[in-house]
């Protein structure tokens, strides 16, 4: 059977796309509410933690590069454990769909289509998500590359439009809330890269040079995302100030509205959102893919395609439940989502690494994953 291989660049692009959208969309506002203008430091600390967990994820799979977390679990402790791992990842991505929808729906609805019903946004995004998932991982990986290109354009536009209002004094004093609180706040960003480490846990076996460069690629992905996002954190802090950023759920939109090029182009946030939407829809698409893959493993199906429609229905209902009420959405985003994401993101790779150390010999005897 010919197995599709994701190129190294595509893998990095997938990581960046998955982290970027929520991290610039809503996370900076969350961070500003906790630590003010030190958001960029919290993002940086979060990035370092992301590097560690990405490396642990790689270590767990290093000796068996043809396996993902689910098949690794199967090889070590049998099918029941594989189903459990699949269920945990399913729950992770189901929970992740909440913040993704908060980011996507509120960006478009509140700033561009205030009268449109929420269900419209959810249905439209799930339709293209399902389409991409139906086309398969190859297409998902390819569109990530396009999304990365658009992210670079977007960053270019925001830098060009914001630098004239850049005021370094807004970023001072540094570490106003102290290092421990800043480090604690970084957990909000951890919940963003958690999606990327879980992505790696599922698609590492499809990456072209996973055996040789697996760790390097994952880390480059996290670092690239971190650096791209830090630009927004610094701009939001320096242009808007920490206090103003904290007032907004979607602080990036405030920054985008503030940006202008010359006198003629006073408002171009729609161009930025058009560029941003590729990455946002990529997130939706990957959620559909990940949940459908996990569901198909739970039900021992050979292909994830039969599960696309069922998981879309589940994701759609869950997404609607989260974003329907603005206050509940914020509570979910800031309180519940990190409590679901972080134990899984930190715990699952560590657990599988420990099990791999315990069952190393058994793994060697196991048949290669199909």
């Amino acid at each position: 059977m010919k197995t599709f291989r994701i190129s190294n660049g595509m893998f990095i692009a997938m990581i960046v796309n998955l982290i970027f959208v929520k991290a610039i969309g809503v996370t900076q506002g969350e961070l500003a509410r906790v630590i003010g203008s030190d958001m960029w430091i919290a993002t940086f600390i979060g990035m370092l933690q992301g590097i560690v967990i990405m490396y642990i994820t790689y270590l767990a799979l290093r000796k068996t590069p043809d396996r993902d977390f689910i098949s690794l679990g199967s090889a070590m402790l049998g099918k029941w454990f594989a189903a459990l791992v699949a269920l945990v990842i399913f729950v992770f991505y189901l929970a992740a769909f909440g913040p993704i929808m908060i980011t996507y729906v509120y960006h478009l609805q509140e700033y561009f289509l205030p009268e449109a019903p929420i269900s419209l946004f959810i249905i439209a995004s799930l339709l293209v998500g399902a389409l991409g998932c139906y086309y398969g991982l190859e297409v998902i990986a390819r569109i990530a590359l396009v999304g990365l290109l658009f992210i670079f354009f977007l960053n270019g536009l925001i830098i060009i439009g914001s630098t004239h209002e850049f005021d370094m004094r807004n970023l001072l004093p540094v570490l106003e809330s102290g290092l421990p609180q800043t480090a604690a706040a970084s957990l909000h960003f951890d919940a963003d890269w958690a999606m990327a480490t879980m992505l790696a846990a599922l698609i590492y076996p499809h990456v072209k040079d996973v055996k040789k460069y697996g760790a390097k690629l994952g880390i480059i992905g996290i670092v690239t995302s971190g650096l791209i996002i830090v630009i927004w954190a610094i701009l939001e802090g320096a242009v808007l100030s920490g206090e103003v950023t904290a007032q907004y759920t979607l602080s990036c939109m405030k920054l985008a509205r503030n940006a202008h090029i010359g006198n003629f182009l006073q408002r171009y946030e729609m161009i930025m959102i058009a560029l941003y939407s590729i990455s946002a829809l990529f997130e939706v698409m990957f959620c559909v893919y990940a949940t459908s893959v996990c569901a198909s493993r739970v039900f021992a199906l050979k292909s994830n395609k039969p599960m696309i429609i069922p998981v879309c229905l589940i994701l759609g209902a869950f997404g609607y439940w989260v974003v329907d009420d603005h206050f509940w959405a914020l509570k979910y985003l800031e309180f519940y989502w990190p409590r679901v994401a972080l134990p899984i993101a930190f715990g699952l790779p560590v657990l599988l690494l420990l099990l791999r150390l315990l069952f190393g010999k058994k793994l060697q005897k196991a048949k290669p994953a199909t």
Binding site: S7, M10, A124, Y135, M270, I273, A274
Partner: protein
């Protein structure tokens, strides 16, 4: 019908009368079937028969056959007994360039229907098939749909052999191969597969042959028939098979390791695999200096984006997001729309459809009338519609720019696809604003990313990203930098090292 199939399976018999009866039964009394009897070497005991199609066969060549069989044979004092086999007649009597033995009836009939002349002689159990193809062709002309300013002006025509010769003249490489096959149970259309055997992508020729062999159809009237039966994405609006009337394009494709498919009776040749970006490239890009080539290529990329998205963006902005339009521009648009009774989407759809209507009418009409239709349509009706307050002047400008941009795309068939994609994008934007636009654009992008052309990703080398091939995608770098063929070719090196020209140093420098 079944008896004719039986006759076709049979072999020629030694009796001229029996063979003539078989030919009569199969070909019937068609007015264009010509039979000419003769006496081999002028001897009464050896009658023979020529059969050919009037209009397809060159009568001068047919006369030469008769002269050789009757006059030359007797002048050389040959006896029919000495010419007892088809081979002996072929080697010692006939002086036509292409003659072959023809043992079975099907081959003979196919030959006659293709313009060859069938020769049967009393006592021979084989016939002879002499190539006498010669019908009236139009001359070599400049391709009407692929114009260029600099470069060769010759285009393909309806004769497959003339078309292959056009390419052979450009590539005098012994490794250039033309493989022949026939498609169409009734049309028996000649199809040639062209490739350079030491350059072509490995496995591609076999793949092309297997797809062509799979075709079971009664007739092939044009290359479009073949295109639709071999393409990778039959449900897609994108063309995954390139078509061209230009021999230089085919030659350059073959030199890149691709395969060309020539079909008889059409001036359009198919090229596979193909990539989306090739439709935006023109031969002039390579014939002009690279600065000019790159500049106009970028202009065409803009034209592509405008053609695809401008009406949708306009509809989206004016319907939903007017706050995004710079104030002075928004006021201008609003003043123009003040008297228009239609919503923007409807106005755009009406104008786009009117434009397509004018284009189609102009195309189908005789040329002088077609021009008149275009002028009347675009100038008079457009002006009248604006004055009547049915459409806004800004919408006329948008539709006109979009139309002109779509004409700037060198591949006509591809520009048609882009024109069609415009409508779903526009409708989605008109109903859902930015949400509709981004969702539809994303779906379109997903679809384009998912399709392939003979194993190659349609959007390569952009996705998957191939750094080396970027030298000739968005930009056209200098010829001395285009030193490699696409990665799928067997031999990627196309140029020696250090080809960048430089002024030679003067003595003493």
């Amino acid at each position: 019908m079944s008896s004719i199939q039986e006759l076709l399976k049979g072999a020629f018999k030694p009796s001229v009368k029996e063979n003539a009866a078989v030919l009569d039964q199969i070909l019937g009394n068609s007015a264009d079937v010509q039979k000419r009897d003769f006496l081999l070497c002028g001897k009464a005991g050896s009658p023979g028969l020529l059969c050919f199609m009037d209009g397809l066969a060159d009568t001068t060549l047919v006369e030469a056959i008769v002269r050789a069989l009757v006059v030359t044979g007797s002048q050389l004092n040959r006896e029919p007994a000495e010419l007892a086999t088809a081979e002996s007649i072929r080697t010692s009597l006939l002086f036509n360039a292409t003659v072959k033995d023809c043992p079975n009836v099907r081959e003979g009939i196919n030959g006659i229907l293709s313009g060859d002349t069938l020769v049967v002689v009393e006592g021979l159990d084989q016939a002879l098939l002499v190539s006498t193809r010669g019908w009236k062709d139009r001359g070599v002309e400049e391709p009407s749909s692929e114009n260029n300013v600099r470069g060769p002006r010759d285009g393909f025509m309806e004769s497959i052999r003339t078309n292959t010769a056009h390419v052979r003249r450009r590539i005098k490489d012994p490794m250039l191969r033309f493989e022949s096959m026939v498609i169409g149970t009734r049309s028996q259309t000649d199809v040639n597969i062209a490739y350079i055997s030491d350059l072509v992508k490995e496995g591609l020729v076999d793949e092309v042959k297997s797809r062509l062999n799979r075709i079971k159809i009664d007739s092939v009237m044009e290359s479009g028939y073949i295109e639709e039966l071999i393409e990778d994405a039959p449900l897609s609006m994108f063309n995954t098979v390139q078509s061209t009337e230009r021999p230089d394009k085919v030659a350059s494709a073959l030199l890149e390791g691709r395969v060309a498919i020539f079909i008889d009776n059409t001036p359009v040749v198919l090229i596979v695999p193909t990539f989306f970006w090739q439709y935006i490239q023109a031969p002039d890009d390579y014939y002009n200096r690279y600065w000019v080539g790159t500049f106009f290529r970028i202009v065409r990329y803009f034209a592509f984006l405008i053609s695809l998205m401008l009406p949708s963006v306009y509809v989206m902005l004016v319907s939903f997001h007017h706050e995004m339009i710079p104030t002075s521009l928004a006021l201008t648009i609003a003043s123009g729309r003040e008297v228009v009774p239609f919503p923007v989407l409807l106005e755009a759809l009406i104008m786009e459809l009117a434009f397509e209507l004018m284009r189609e009418a102009g195309l189908r009409m005789p040329k002088p009338i077609g021009q008149a239709v275009s002028i009347v349509g675009s100038l008079i009706i457009g002006q009248a519609a604006v004055q009547a307050g049915l459409v806004s002047p800004f919408m006329v400008i948008i539709v006109a720019i979009t139309g002109i941009s779509s004409f700037a795309i060198p591949s006509y068939s591809s520009s048609l696809a882009i024109r069609m994609f415009r409508f779903p994008l526009m409708i989605a934007s008109g109903f859902l604003g930015l949400l509709g636009f981004s969702t539809m654009f994303f779906a379109l992008l997903l679809h384009a990313l998912s399709i392939r052309s003979f194993g190659e990703s349609y959007l390569a080398p952009a996705s998957p990203y191939r750094p080396t091939d970027q030298r000739d995608t968005m930009l056209r770098l200098p010829m001395w930098m285009l030193d490699e063929r696409p990665g799928f070719a067997q031999d990627v090196d196309r140029m020696g090292d250090n080809q960048m020209p430089a002024t030679p140093l003067q003595k003493g420098e």
